[in-house]
Amino acid sequence: EPEVTQTPSHQVTQMGQEVILRCVPISNHLYFYWYRQILGQKVEFLVSFYNNEISEKSEIFDDQFSVERPDGSNFTLKIRSTKLEDSAMYFCASSDSSGANVLTFGAGSRLTVL
C-alpha cells in the first residue's frame, strides 16, 4: 500500500537553529499538508499546498515557517529559527483530490528544541 514517508523520524536541535523536515508524498497525489502535534495536545493544521503554492495556512504558520516542493517528489517544511515551543511531532499528509478528501499521513517527525 502506498505510504507517505517522513525523515528524519526524530531531530534534536538547539534553539535558533534552522530545521528542515522532509516528506515524500504518495506519487500521484497533488495536495500536500503539514500538521503539528505538541505533546499531549491535539493535531493542528499548519499549511496546505497545491500546484506549487500555499493554498491555506493557519495562524501557527508564521514567517519562520516555509514549505517547498523542490524536485517534484519531496515536500519540505523549514523552520528558520527554532523556538522551544516548536518542539512537537510534525505530520506530513497528502491526498489525490481536494474537498472531502482522505488524507494519508506519514509516521511523523519528532522535533525536540533544546
Binding site: Y33, E44, F45, F91, G99, A100, T104, G106
Partner: protein, 111 residues
C-alpha cells in the same frame, strides 16, 4: 467556528469488553467525519469515514461509527477490544479540504 469535542481524555476497558468513544462536532452543515488511530510511535491511520448515506459506517480492525445528526455526534464503537487496540483515537471533521482534529482519547486495555 468548527470544532470537535472528545470529552474523554482517557478510557480504560478490559480486553474483550465493548468500547464506545464519544465525539461531538460543531459545524453549520453536516461535515465529513473521520476517526483516526495513532499507535505509540506511529503515524495517524484512518479507521473509517462518513461522507453521506448510511449513518452506520464500518471501518478497519472491527471498528464502526454511527453518525447522529440530531446529537451532532459520531461515536466510535467496537464490540470486543483487543490488547492491540491500545492507542490514541482522534475524531476529525473536514469542513473543507483540511481536517480539524479533536484532542484525542487515549485507550488503555486491561488484560
Amino acid at each position: 467556528a468548527q470544532s470537535v469535542t472528545q470529552p474523554d481524555i482517557h478510557i480504560t476497558v478490559s480486553e474483550g469488553a465493548s468500547l464506545e468513544l464519544r465525539c461531538n462536532y460543531s459545524y453549520g452543515a453536516t461535515p465529513y467525519l473521520f476517526w483516526y488511530v495513532q499507535s505509540p510511535g506511529q503515524g495517524l491511520q484512518l479507521l473509517l469515514k462518513y461522507f453521506s448515506g448510511d449513518t452506520l459506517v464500518q471501518g478497519i480492525k472491527g471498528f464502526e461509527a454511527e453518525f447522529k445528526r440530531s446529537q451532532s455526534s459520531f461515536n466510535l464503537r467496537k464490540p470486543s477490544v483487543h490488547w492491540s487496540d491500545a492507542a490514541e483515537y482522534f475524531c476529525a471533521v473536514a469542513p473543507d479540504d483540511k481536517i480539524i482534529f479533536g484532542k484525542g482519547t487515549r485507550l488503555h486495555i486491561l488484560p
